[in-house]
């Protein structure tokens, strides 16, 4: 390992970049990557984790796709992380599995007819990857432990690699336009007024660690669902790219689920030790220096509703066209027992009709987004149930619940209506009166912010968060996951 970041331009692109795409023999991608890479490093240095670029972080690096190679652990300075281009292995017999082209051989090249649509799908997915790194860039400073700090950086470098994965598709298959779009991915900035990221949730702040855990639980899970449906694509390189990304995504959601779970665990333990039974006795709970369960519920409400917006309108002709064109399928498409054409099927969609939330049968083809969102909600519910097990075990009468899908929405059917946590349509005044019991208030935010004190001592954890059951790579909780060398 060298001790200073590699100067941009000195990378040997043919040997230093882990890949299974024969990069050394691909003039087109090499040339494009050489031009893009300095901008990427520049982006990482200015928008990546703030203050830790010279620290040694115990990270896993994917250097190949076989079980031995996809998670190599070692200390790495993040700017020297070996971002690579790895695709799931090609299946020569793979077919287009849905839509009008069902049964054709999967495409190895972009069909001209779908160039614009595919490019759009790649760019939207690609835009989310660097956005979350930007959203999380100041969190290192308030890390509740070296273990959590390391997890944050692991997620960050892998989002960087996911960006690479999308950029590879753009460089390899979309020519001049693709190269321009790849540059655009480095130019937009999360939350920037003039050049924001493309999707709403990726322009929101991630101000504290509980938000980070909620984000990786809820919003990275949207990423998972999108990748799952793109992994079904008839455009084979897209499918293979997304399939490999999903192996990394699992860890991001693990960080989120266990992070929230450890927060809950610590709160419950503190309450029990202090003899507090009422979870709504907020002042007393907060006096213990832990986050009360109702506030955790509010955080979940916020992140869940923002993430639902990422699925777009319930009824969408774009989504129908993507499906019919064989570009983007459903979650577990090949496991579903139907005709995979959806030309005559229907699907129940929640809609706002005469001020009431009602389920209506809509053509399944245009309800593709709705279906993916339903699968997403089910997936979320599984994690929520595991959180509730922790509360139950502590004997506290409280359960985290997912709010109604109509609650606090900015996109789709319910964007113009105010709805309570449990799905009742409200007047504007009722909403204003009750808002703070469902969404984090200013004072909730201030309280959480007050807890965000760095805890960087080996083996120590901030008072609001319990230690993990096991460490990373079979190391203990007291392993030095980050050797901090502050710049």
């Amino acid at each position: 390992m060298t001790t200073s970041p590699t100067p941009a331009g000195a990378v040997d692109y043919t040997t230093k970049i882990p890949n299974n795409i024969n990069l050394a023999g691909d003039d087109r991608v090499l040339k494009a990557l050489e031009q893009w890479h300095p901008g990427y490093i520049d982006w990482w240095m200015t928008m990546g984790p703030d203050g830790f670029q010279t620290s040694d972080v115990y990270l896993r690096t994917a250097i190949s796709i076989d079980p031995k190679g996809w998670a190599k652990f070692d200390y790495v300075k993040m700017p020297e992380y070996r971002w690579g281009i790895l695709l799931a292995p090609q299946d020569e017999n793979r077919l287009v599995n849905f839509g009008a082209h069902k049964g054709e051989k999967a495409w190895q090249e972009v069909p001209g007819e779908y160039r614009a649509s595919l490019r759009r799908l790649v760019v939207i997915q690609g835009d989310t990857e660097p956005a979350s790194v930007e959203q999380q860039r100041f969190l290192g400073k308030t890390a509740p432990s070296l273990y959590d700090m390391r997890n944050l950086f692991q997620v960050n470098v892998e989002e960087g690699r996911h960006l690479w994965a999308m950029v590879y598709l753009l460089h390899k298959y979309f020519g001049k336009d693709g190269r321009e779009e790849a540059d655009g991915l480095l130019q937009r900035r999360s939350g920037d007024q003039d050049k924001p990221r493309m999707l709403g949730a990726f322009n929101e702040e991630t101000p504290d660690w509980l938000s980070f855990f909620m984000f990786t639980f809820f919003t990275d899970r949207d990423g998972k669902m999108q990748l799952e449906s793109l992994a079904q694509s008839g455009f084979d390189p897209m499918s293979r790219t997304c399939r490999f990304m999903l192996t990394e995504e699992a860890h991001h959601m693990f960080v989120g689920e266990t992070g929230v779970s450890r927060t809950i665990e610590r709160t419950c333990a503190a309450m029990k030790a202090a003899g507090i039974e009422d979870p709504y006795d907020i002042n007393r709970v907060r006096a213990l220096g832990v986050i009360d369960l109702p506030t955790i519920q509010k955080k979940a409400n916020l992140h869940y509703s923002l993430s639902l917006d990422l699925f777009g309108s319930e009824i969408s002709t774009n989504a129908a066209n993507f499906y019919n064109g064989g570009l983007k399928g459903r979650f577990m498409e090949t496991k579903i027992e139907d005709d995979h054409l959806l030309t005559s099927a229907t699907y129940p969609v929640l809609k706002l009709i005469d001020g009431q939330i009602k389920s209506v049968e809509e053509p399944a083809l245009t309800a593709i987004n709705m279906r993916l969102r339903d699968d997403y909600s089910k997936d979320c519910q599984g994690g929520v149930n595991r959180w509730n097990k922790v509360i139950e075990k502590a004997g506290i009468k409280f359960a985290i619940t997912l709010p109604s899908v109509a609650f606090h929405r900015h996109i789709g059917e319910f964007k113009d209506v105010k709805v309570s946590h449990d799905g009742k349509v409200l007047s504007e005044t009722e909403w204003i009166k009750n808002r703070d019991q469902w969404l984090p208030s200013k004072s909730d935010g201030d309280y959480i912010a007050s807890l965000m004190q760095p805890c960087w001592e080996r083996g120590k954890y901030a008072g609001w968060l319990s230690a993990p059951k096991v460490g990373i790579d079979n190391k203990g909780g007291d392993f030095e996951y980050v050797k901090i060398h502050r710049a």
């Binding site: 003039d27 087109r28 040339k31 090249e109 972009v110 069909p111 001209g112 007819e113 160039r115 614009a116 298959y173 020519g175 001049k176």
Partner: protein, 557 residues
Amino acid sequence: MAEAAAAKRIDFQTDPSRYHHWKLVTDGDRAELIMDVDENATLFSGYQLKLNSYDLGVDIELADVLQRLRFEHPEVRVVVMKSGKDKVFCAGANIRMLAVSTHAHKVNFCKFTNETRNSIEDSSENSGQKFICAVRGTAAGGGYELALACDRIILADDGNSTVSLPEIPLLAVLPGTGGLTRVTDKRKVRRDLADAFCTVEEGVKGARAVKWRLVDRVATNSKFDAEVAALATELAASIKKAPGAKGIALTPIPRAIAADTITYSTVRVAIDRPGRRATITILGPDANPPDDIATMHSQAAQFWSLRLARELDDAILELRLNELEVGTLVFKSEGDPGRVLAHDAFLANHAEDWLATEIRNYWKRVLKRIDVTSRSLVATIEPGSCFAGTLAEIVFACDRSFMFQGSRKGDNRGPATMLLSAQNFGAYPMSNGITRLQTRFLGEPESVGAAEKQTGKSLDAAACEDLGLVTSAFDEIDWDDEVRIFLEERASFSADGLTGLEANLRFAGPETMETKIFGRLTAWQNWIFQRPNAVGADGALKRYGSGVKAEFDKKRV
């Protein structure tokens, strides 16, 4: 029937020995062009060409006559067009033929007949050949449109001879093949009178026809021939062209037609049916032009510039009428751009020679034919190509143009270049009256000047992109994919959507009679021909001649 009309291959090559419908008699600087349609010599089955009505086959012969008049009979100054039939001049396009034709054929038919009529006007303006239409009997619909294309119309004042545009009352379609542009803009008929004229089925005759400006003169039967002759003398005197021109023979164009290829001496057409496109490769001259003009006259139809113009013209027509599923035409070229420029210079240096002038005028018409071809037009300019001067106009006629930047590995021909000549700056006006570069740079006229400064220079891809002469330049790494994806994407769009888009974008700038004619044709005639009032089961075209009155949907749209 309609199916048969779509299936039969239409050939645009003919010569006087094979004419069924026309006879040309020349006498010094006069010619008589007699229309005597053989009613059984139809292009398709299912109709007869009664009353000197015409189908595309009749018009193909007329186009051939006009071409031969220019090249084989340059001595002719006045052409008198008349009917070989007794009581009828021409009844226009054959209605039963229209009724059994596919929509695509109807539109292509109208487009070609428009081009032929424009060609008459072009001869009058540029080839020193004026046309007199001597109408005896009825000139109805397309028959009157034919008369309108001539410089003068004389109508027999016999109580029977009429001119008329009966389409609205009779057939529920728009008169003429180019709308009413020649009535309003060429003959400048007052609008209310034109309205009245177009709704009177039996038409207008005698003095009223003159008064309404529908014809120039009337003459009684006994004085008719003398009047025509007097008018011819008058017109001939007005024409300034050097006497003594000796025509050349337009020999048959050698061509080999296979399933997916058409091969000429200077043009190769290759059709990719699954891709729905045809590649048209133009071969540059294999030698420099001759040293003197006499040699060009002896080379005649073999002279490269003329040979290519004829072959390219035929290729475009072949694709238009016989390859309806081919949505995109990709133009390529191979050869020495220097030699192309030398041919341009040769023609420019002999502007006083009638044949050199005719060849340039012919190129102007071929390029216009490309302009109005309702297919996506794409040029790919690659190493070894020769898009220079006149051939560069083809690039400028295209909807998109792609240029190869640098060379291919292992190709020692050097990078692709484009060259401009004086021909790109005035010799080939489009139907809107201005050049393709002026049209291209309507919003930035200074770009025309910037391009003109580069005349004669080898312009590489970067320079061409910079000057705005091509859409995009791609290097070897991107080329195959970008071009492939563009073509696939193009093929996936709606054919009608593209036809509309391209027609809208190609003719920026001033309106002329010609742009109006094609604009009215594509927009109005296309629309009206699709409406149930014309082609529905109870529509006028279907019911024509059945004795049952058509039933109209009276709602205005």
